[in-house]
């Protein structure tokens, strides 16, 4: 059987795999991965045995921290985040919802003070049965995760 690699193997960096198809570009944008100046390889709608289709991101020379990996859990709770050194996986992050998330999303409440002042947005994150709720530290409004994630 012929085997070809879709993307070349990574020497140093991070592979974010098993991203639900359609979320890859959003993650790229929100985490500003393209602005790092490092080589980024993105695969969209790749075939996956478990998921049908998936997205995948490889970032060279950047090791995602535990906190950054956990922020990913909001979009892609089942994503795998592997840190690579010298072609070997040295760390597999287990994604857990973070308690709080800072500076990534804007508050959906247009009258929230955080929009016009020199502060980063800040949400407390709480998992509910069928939804994840995010509460803005400033205006104290509670939003469904999907609303916050769509705003920016």
């Amino acid at each position: 059987m012929q085997y070809t690699r879709t993307v070349e193997a990574l020497k140093e960096g991070t592979v974010i795999d098993h991203i639900p198809a359609g979320q890859g570009l959003k993650i790229l944008r929100l985490f500003r991965l393209a602005e790092t100046g490092e080589r980024v390889t993105v695969g969209l709608n790749l075939s996956s045995r478990h998921m049908g289709s998936k997205d995948l991101i490889k970032v060279e020379n950047i090791a995602l921290t535990e906190d950054q990996a956990n922020e990913l859990a909001l979009f892609a709770p089942k994503a795998t985040v592997n840190v690579i050194e010298n072609f070997e996986v040295v760390k597999k992050h287990q994604l857990e919802l973070p308690d709080a998330i800072q500076g990534i999303f804007a508050c959906p409440n247009s009258n929230c003070i955080s929009h016009n002042e020199p502060v980063q947005s800040f949400f407390y994150v709480k998992a509910h049965v069928n939804d994840t709720k995010m509460k803005c530290k400033y205006c104290e409004k509670v939003f469904s995760k999907d609303i916050v994630v769509e705003v920016r």
Binding site: N111, C112, I113, S114, P118, Y138, C139
Partner: protein, 306 residues
């Protein structure tokens, strides 16, 4: 040991523990019974009203002056450098360098929390947009304790605009620490928001959604009325609900003897003036209690012991 509110920011009711709420209520009662002239001696309080308010501002400023403190400030953000485009963060850095505490009201939600991150001195929230108005809740709690002798296990009905009424949300959160039970009486479009009901469910606190004012009156110790604002409805809708959430003296025939009626004021027509003369009316005393509750809060924030 310093009291737990000493040098604390007072931003939002969910920040308070039950003990801290009780401390404010007890201190307010003490200051009402025995006025003290020196608790804010040599203290300068900045009263920053970026949005106009009559009762809140005047009662804060009265509280400061009765305790021997002095006030600087403004009553309308239109005259400040905010109009020139200065950030609130910068304004508060400067104002807090002049004063021992900042009392503020602002039209945007979250303004007081943000100010507290840039202020060198404690910030007391006098209302931030549609979000919180903690001193209203403290004066409500003080008034309930004063009239009922306890905050524990009371039956409390909230009537009117429960959707947008921030005082109703904070008071429900505060009373839920005291095992009270609640009745919510509101038109469907102004019903209590889901997040408050979910909080009560999580804490295992019982509440009843009631259709009419009359059916709850015999069951309750406190009737908390709020204004249903006409502008929230179209004309036909308003006609349908008009009168349904208005209290008249004759509806109080089956009320418990201890039952008191509160209202954050201003009232328009949701409490008929014939109620004023009944022994259940307590909203004007409640407004007066605003001064004692704010005295208590300022005294606790600015003195290690009171």
């Amino acid at each position: 040991m310093a009291n737990p509110l000493y040098r604390k920011n007072i931003i939002s009711i969910p920040d308070f523990s039950r003990e801290e709420l009780e401390l404010v209520v007890e201190t307010a009662a003490r200051l009402k019974a025995e006025p003290s002239k020196n608790l804010l001696k040599d203290k300068l309080i900045a009263s920053c009203f970026f949005e106009p308010s009559t009762r809140t501002r005047l009662s804060f400023e009265t509280a400061v002056q009765r305790l021997g403190g002095r006030v600087i400030g403004f009553a309308d953000g239109g005259n400040t450098s905010a109009r020139k485009g200065e950030t609130l963060a910068d304004s508060i850095k400067i104002i807090s360098s002049y004063s021992d505490a900042v009392v503020m009201r602002h039209p945007r939600e979250g303004a007081a929390r943000l100010a507290s991150e840039f202020s060198a001195v404690p910030v007391i929230n006098g209302g931030d947009g549609a979000n919180q108005h903690p001193t209203q809740t403290l004066l409500d709690l003080f008034t309930i304790k004063e009239t009922q002798g306890t905050l524990q296990e009371l039956a409390v009905a909230f009537v009117g605009d429960l959707k947008y009424g921030r005082t109703v949300h904070s008071l429900t959160q505060a009373l839920s620490l005291f095992n009270c039970r609640f009745y919510f009486v509101a038109p469907e479009v102004l019903a209590m928001p889901d997040y408050i009901c979910e909080e009560l469910d999580e804490k295992g606190i019982s509440y009843t959604l009631a259709a009419s004012l009359e059916e709850v009156i015999p069951e309750i110790d406190v009737l908390y009325m709020t204004r249903v604002q006409r502008e929230r409805f179209d004309e036909a809708e308003f006609k349908k609900i008009q009168g349904k959430f208005v209290l008249h003296a004759e509806m109080l025939r089956h009320a418990r003897e201890n039952m008191k009626i509160l209202h954050p004021l201003p009232r328009v027509d949701e409490i008929d003036t014939d109620v004023d003369a009944t022994p259940h009316a307590y909203y004007f005393e409640q407004a007066e209690n605003g001064v004692y509750a704010r005295e208590a809060l300022l005294a606790l924030v600015l003195n290690e012991t009171v």
